[in-house]
Symmetry: C2
Subunit: 324 residues, 2 copies
């Protein structure tokens, strides 16, 4: 039985979730693949933090080249987050002939074409299921089972922080500041919530969705983006009076003339639309295809284990199709 060797960049929350998911389901994964899967090196400074997992000390390194230059490593998983040094690391790994898996929406959205071209030029896979919708298997579905469709439209609830805040405002009748503090207390919002509440995180995800669905790259900064910090109790009440709830929506649509229209912003969603009942920290992606018509995928858009599930799904796909 062969062993697939993995180098992991980053052992923060998502890295730890990925490591845990592999330990938890190792038997099933290895049986399905007929191969052993081993994380052999981990780029991470902090060797002492209690992560609830046992990681042998000799796996840690602070030198990324130990991973990029190791000829035995087949796959590099990048879970550092942020645009740099992650993008440089992704490109270096690809150029060194490693297949790369990442959850890093910011790095992909900023450098989509260069990363895809580099993967292609080096004849290796670049996979990023976890970058949009966390555990929800949306990207693999769009590029896999739904591939026979021409995509017409996407409406996504792609940020758990803002969906939690809007749900609390709607269901509890509280104002924005109170709901934000509640989200921070529950661990659903960061101390500096700007990237979430101003829609920047969602714009990164819409860039990725549009690239896959419409073969069209639009930089996140070029997507008209409005966050939820201007949503008041009065606006929510007015939406309710119209039979709607307000959701922060990533929206892209193919127009009659073939152009793609796109934006991120709060939208009134009719109560009888499937997206209206997606509440709290959950995410959902609603797609219209010209053959399948309406489909929706719902699940946890974040969290260590759901995201680890998506990262390892990509690893399994690479082992099955690229390393066999």
């Amino acid at each position: 039985m062969k062993t697939v060797k993995i180098g992991l960049l980053g052992l923060g929350n998502i890295g730890t979730g990925t490591y845990k998911t592999l330990e938890m389901n190792r038997t099933e994964i290895e049986t399905a693949l007929n191969a052993k899967v081993e994380i052999v090196k981990i780029l991470e400074k902090d060797m002492t933090r209690d992560r609830g997992i046992e990681v042998p000390k000799e796996k840690f390194t602070t030198d990324p080249d130990e991973i990029f230059n190791d000829p035995e490593i087949d796959i590099v998983i990048e879970l550092l987050g942020g645009i740099e040094p992650a993008t440089t690391f992704i490109l270096t790994a690809l150029k060194n002939g490693k297949h790369v898996v990442t959850a890093n929406k910011a790095a992909i959205a900023a450098n989509y074409q260069e990363i895809m071209d580099t993967a292609k030029a080096n004849n290796v896979s670049f996979k990023f299921e976890a970058s949009v919708g966390g555990g929800i298997p949306i990207l693999g579905t769009l590029t896999g089972p739904l591939r026979a469709n021409k995509y017409e439209e996407v409406l996504g609830i792609l940020n758990g922080t803002t969906n939690y805040i809007l749900t609390m405002m709607t269901q509890e009748g509280i104002d924005y500041d109170t709901a934000l503090k509640d989200a921070q207390a529950q661990g659903f919002a960061e101390a500096d919530p700007t990237a979430d509440v101003e829609g920047l995180d969602v714009a990164n995800k819409l860039t990725i969705l549009m690239a896959l669905m419409f073969d069209k790259y639009v930089a996140p900064g070029d997507i008209p983006t409005t966050g939820i910090s201007g949503i008041t109790k009065e606006k929510i009440d007015a939406a309710a009076a119209d039979g709607c709830v307000i959701k922060l929506i990533a929206h892209a649509k193919r127009l009659e003339n073939g152009e793609i229209e796109y934006k991120v912003g709060p939208m009134n969603i009719s109560n009888d639309h499937p997206l209206a009942s997606i509440n709290k920290e959950f995410n959902a992606v609603f797609i219209k295809g010209n053959a399948v018509d309406d489909v929706m995928f719902y699940g946890k858009g974040a969290g260590p284990l759901p995201t680890g599930s998506a990262v390892l799904g990509d690893v399994i796909e690479i082992v099955q199709h690229a390393l066999n």
Copy 2:
């Protein structure tokens, strides 16, 4: 550019939907595959029915061996429905080295192991995304992007006829017989609705889901199955008083001791559960995985184009991974 040649068994509603979907999206599909895709022969007696598509007369045959024995045919799509002669045709095609795609839940559920073993022995693919949930890409997701999970539970609304009837009874306050007649008038129920309303169609689908999720085959006849013909207005009102709606659910769950518990029958679903808002002819599958936690997939569980979308998704997968 190579040409992938397909033999199609059956040009009824689903066969016609598959043919239409290919014609509609041929450019996108062929560009993505870098291959031409051609349905070269069709097993079908009725050459004259107006299907809204132009099919050259010379593609029709009434002799299945013309397809099985044609060395140029790479893929056989079986869309006859029913257990026989479909099962024999599927097995013959596999034994002749053809990859096979089908939407035929009854044939798969009845003969799962023999078909899978035959595909494996002949080193060809057998794919059946369209057999469960129509256009909803559930099987490819379970065996693809979600593969890193150990599955714990599935709750599926997998039959549009019964979901339409139950929705009408719930929303309009009408009785079962009136709702059934309405469903028949709308084209959502057949003249003889037995297989749908008694849960037999759903049992076939649960057999397939359990085989993929739990590696456990249970014949549809061995699944405890109750339909919806015994559901009264009073039962629906009683569920509503408890904050629930009644749905016909395919349910399987891994117990603490590792055993799998399974049944098909009406279930009270709490109004705040995502399945509660799946109405009319729509289907949905709610899955719990040990890493991803709860995910749900929603869409049209039937219809020529959604089902054609799933059939062609399987064809694309075969061209990408088995014929390359």
